[in-house]
């Protein structure tokens, strides 16, 4: 034998002690970040999906559930949802009509399209079992949104949809690790612009609503690069089907069109055509599914003064729109056209 191996016992003591030390350290770190005042000093935990907006929403939702609140409804969508859906207004309008409480969480994520919404809906349905998931969408969401692929491929989403992976497991299980993810992304930022964007979502309210005040001048020229298509995409219909499949988990699904400012919608070339493509596409999937799509563009719910700019409502517009949503929900539940399951406990 030219090369042989010979291990004398004891061997590996250093390694054993290191493992023990590591476990102790991880335990200690986990304990420390669970102390409320400590956690308050840290950035909202991250999930390694490249979207800070998503992380903040997950954190806000988590915080409410941990405080023992029961979330009836989660409203998922892009920044049009983030800035345009005020859960308080929905709650007020709903209880005015039905007399019962209805707690809603805004889960609007910057840039998220239908694919990202579907992945998010799957994750949230599994973790929080809401009675109703509302998808706020529109003809501009037919393409894949900027964070969609990152969200779909993020470990925590894959892990919770049954694709076991170590990173997803540790992200789901360890708050210390999620805190690390947030802090390290913040440290890695190399310019003031990105830093501002990163911190922007910190002012998101506990119910996930990020109100915008006043108005911002906008340029209709930008609409020439409209993110819309004259043909429905398979990724879009596949995503809608994926969302509908969540009904099995005892969750009702509702789609609501997030409108554009009326003057903008009228001015944008071909907007009507794009919208018809979107409408036909989504209706063909919803047929016989028992779920509805509420169209809002033609209803002129939000007056011109309720817009921050062409496609994001300001705080007043959000109140108007959300009140409308709350009333419609209340009516629909009252007259039985929308059936909400009793729902299980919200706590995971």
């Amino acid at each position: 034998m030219e090369k042989s191996i010979h291990i004398n016992r004891p061997f590996g003591k250093v390694g054993l002690w290191a493992c023990l030390g590591l476990l102790l350290f991880i335990g200690a770190a986990e304990a420390v970040v669970h102390i409320k005042p400590v956690q308050a000093q840290l950035l909202a935990p991250g999930t390694a999906n490249m979207s800070r907006s998503f992380d903040i929403q997950l954190d806000r939702l988590n915080a409410r559930v941990e405080q023992g609140e029961r979330i009836d409804c989660i409203f998922i969508g892009s920044s049009r949802v983030l800035h345009g859906v005020d859960p308080n207004a929905i709650r007020k309008a709903y209880s005015n009509i039905t007399g019962s409480d209805f707690k809603c969480q805004n889960f609007g994520v910057l840039g998220m399209g239908m694919k990202g919404s579907a992945e998010t809906a799957g994750l949230l349905a599994k973790l929080y079992h809401p009675r109703l998931i509302i998808i706020g969408t529109g003809f501009m969401d037919i393409g894949v949104g900027l964070p969609d692929n990152a969200i779909a491929e993020s470990p925590i989403v894959r892990y919770n949809s049954g694709d076991f992976n170590f990173d997803g497991w540790i992200t789901s299980s360890s708050l210390a690790f999620r805190d690390y993810l947030a802090e390290i992304s913040y440290l890695a930022i190399d310019n003031a612009h990105t830093q501002n964007d990163f911190l922007l979502y910190n002012s998101t309210k506990p119910d996930g609503f990020l109100p915008l005040n006043g108005h911002k001048a906008d340029n209709l020229q930008n609409w020439n690069n409209l993110n819309a298509h004259n043909k429905i995409k398979t990724v879009f219909t596949r995503s809608v089907k994926k969302i509908l499949a969540l009904k099995k988990e005892n969750t009702q699904i509702l789609f609501i069109e997030m409108p554009l400012r009326t003057s903008t919608f009228k001015a944008v070339p071909h907007a009507g055509g794009y919208r018809r493509v979107f409408e036909d596409g989504i209706n063909s999937v919803l047929q016989n599914s028992g779920s509805q799509m509420w169209l809002t563009q033609d209803l002129n719910i939000v007056p011109e003064s309720g817009w921050y700019e062409s496609n994001h409502m300001n705080v007043d517009g959000a109140e108007t729109f959300s009140t409308w949503v709350g009333e419609q929900l209340g009516q629909a539940v009252k007259d039985g056209s929308l059936i909400l399951p009793e729902g299980s406990q919200t706590n995971p």
Partner: protein
């Protein structure tokens, strides 16, 4: 498979288990098979190139050996005209093979331009040739094998399997260390017992390597601004200095980390590989730096280029102070080194500047006061300060064309002097500065005791803490994902 991947770890474990249950005679065969499987995992065509190079050099060395044994050993080492000519032929064929793959892109594009000018359609797709990874390294070793055969440095028992394994051995296949045939081949047949000590040393090497590669090099490389090398003019002087230092530390830890892992893995198989780095940044001169940076390449160049050339010239004029004797070997060696790193003009410039600087250092040594030893002078002595200043000149002047093309090198040098404003944005420096901490720590501790494995001589409890810290840092650095700009578009 990448050497820092879990797949590689699994591969090594599987091969190790087989290795130690197989009888000694089959061990080399197993290593050879494993090496080819490893290489095929990159690209099967690479393995064919390697096999062809191996077969050629085996038969060539046999002829070389036969020719040598026919000649009686004459004086002065028995170098004969005929043998020498054959040796040169062998070296040239190896170099031609390397050049073919290395330069083919360069030549083919010229060829394509000619074809399209003559009106032929673009057919370059079928001619595109890939440089097999590791070829730059194994060709140098094949040359080493021929020269050492010619100089009777190779045991007569060395067979085809030995040569094949010498060239293909997977821990060193991709990026060295470049082993000398005469010293590596006997190690393959040595009896070695891999005991607690060796295992500990090997695992420590692997860990140090992983920390260097993942915690330091990768984190730094990911932080260097994307346009740093392509448009240095957009950076201020301070930023240029900072990112260039970050790049050098990243490059060093990347390569030193790789070598450390390679040596650790090889150590588990009971085969020692040569060191490649010896805390180079503590050198007091550039000549010294090259003795501590990519040492196996420096030694190869020294053994097979610098020394023969230097001796050849000294035979005509024995004076060590005769300037051509000083300048020409250094210049030729460093220009060749530049060309080995890359076949473009910036590498030629880099090599030429480096060669001139090394010659200048040598001239200073040759003409210094009798018996003076720089190392004995206090650090604040003008001569010591001069050598430190030289260090800065090399890093910020001579080393630049190593990474920047010639036009951008000039921009870099000019911006370094003129672009003092605007003041740098320090935001992006935070993570690199954190990564500098382990970088400085490891080298400082190793250099302080002149012991690469000083960590395993510490108290067991300290070792445990350090080990836990390493594992934690490697895990965390793997997850140091930066946020991507495109997500943060704001409004």
């Amino acid at each position: 498979m990448s050497i820092t991947s879990l797949a590689f770890a699994g591969f090594v474990l599987a091969v190790l288990m087989l290795y130690y249950v197989l009888p000694g005679k089959s061990q080399k065969f197993l290593l050879l098979a494993a090496s080819y499987i490893f290489y095929i995992s990159w690209d099967w065509r690479f393995a064919i190139t390697l096999a062809l190079v191996t077969v050629f050099n085996f038969f060539f060395s046999r002829s070389l050996r036969q020719l040598r044994s026919q000649e009686t050993a004459p004086s002065a080492g028995g170098r004969s005209k005929k043998g020498k000519r054959l040796l040169w032929l062998g070296i040239l064929i190896n170099l031609a093979a390397l050049l073919f793959f290395k330069q083919s892109g360069f030549f083919l594009h010229g060829f394509q331009a000619l074809l399209s000018r003559l009106g032929f359609p673009n057919q370059i797709g079928i001619l595109e040739i890939l440089l097999p990874v590791g070829m730059s390294f194994y060709i140098l070793q094949a040359i080493s094998f021929l020269v050492d055969t010619y100089q009777n440095q190779i045991p007569a028992t060395v067979n085809f399997m030995d040569l094949a394994l010498y060239l293909a051995y997977f821990p060193k296949l991709l990026s060295g260390p470049i082993e000398r045939a005469g010293s590596f081949l006997p190690k393959l047949s040595e009896r070695v017992v891999v005991d607690n000590q060796r295992i500990t040393e090997s695992i420590t090497r692997i860990l140090i390597g992983l920390v260097r590669k993942i915690v330091i090099a990768d984190v730094l490389a990911a932080r260097i601004p994307a346009n740093f090398f392509s448009s240095p003019s957009t950076f201020s002087s301070i930023e240029l200095i900072f990112w260039w230092i970050a790049y050098i530390i990243s490059l060093y830890n990347d390569f030193a980390g790789y070598t450390s892992i390679a040596r650790g893995v090889s150590g588990l198989f009971g085969i020692e590989l040569s060191p490649n780095f010896d805390n180079p940044f503590f050198s007091t001169s550039i000549t010294e730096l090259w003795n501590h940076w990519h040492m196996s390449l420096s030694q190869w160049l020294r053994n097979y280029v610098y020394m023969p050339l230097s001796r050849y010239m000294l035979r005509f004029n024995q004076s060590g102070r005769y300037l051509p004797n000083i300048i020409v070997p250094a210049l030729v060696t460093m220009v060749l080194s530049g060309l080995w790193h890359g076949e473009s003009w910036n590498f030629v410039l880099w090599g030429a500047l480096m060669g001139i600087w090394i010659a200048a250092e040598r001239i200073r040594t040759v003409y210094r006061p009798a018996g003076e030893n720089l190392a004995n002078l206090p650090p604040w002595h003008p001569r010591r300060i001069f050598s430190w200043a030289g260090f800065l000149i090399v890093i910020f002047l001579i080393a630049i064309p190593f990474k920047f093309d010639i036009a951008n090198s000039i921009v870099f040098w000019r911006s370094l002097v003129t672009n003092w404003f605007p003041p740098p944005s320090l935001l992006g420096w935070r993570l690199p500065l954190i990564a500098f901490i382990p970088a400085i720590f490891i080298d400082w501790i190793q250099f302080g005791k002149h012991d690469e494995l000083i960590f395993i001589r510490w108290k067991p409890i300290v070792q445990s803490v350090l080990l836990a810290l390493c594992v934690l840092l490697i895990f965390l650095a793997f997850h140091a994902e930066p946020p991507q700009q495109f997500i943060y578009q704001g409004f």
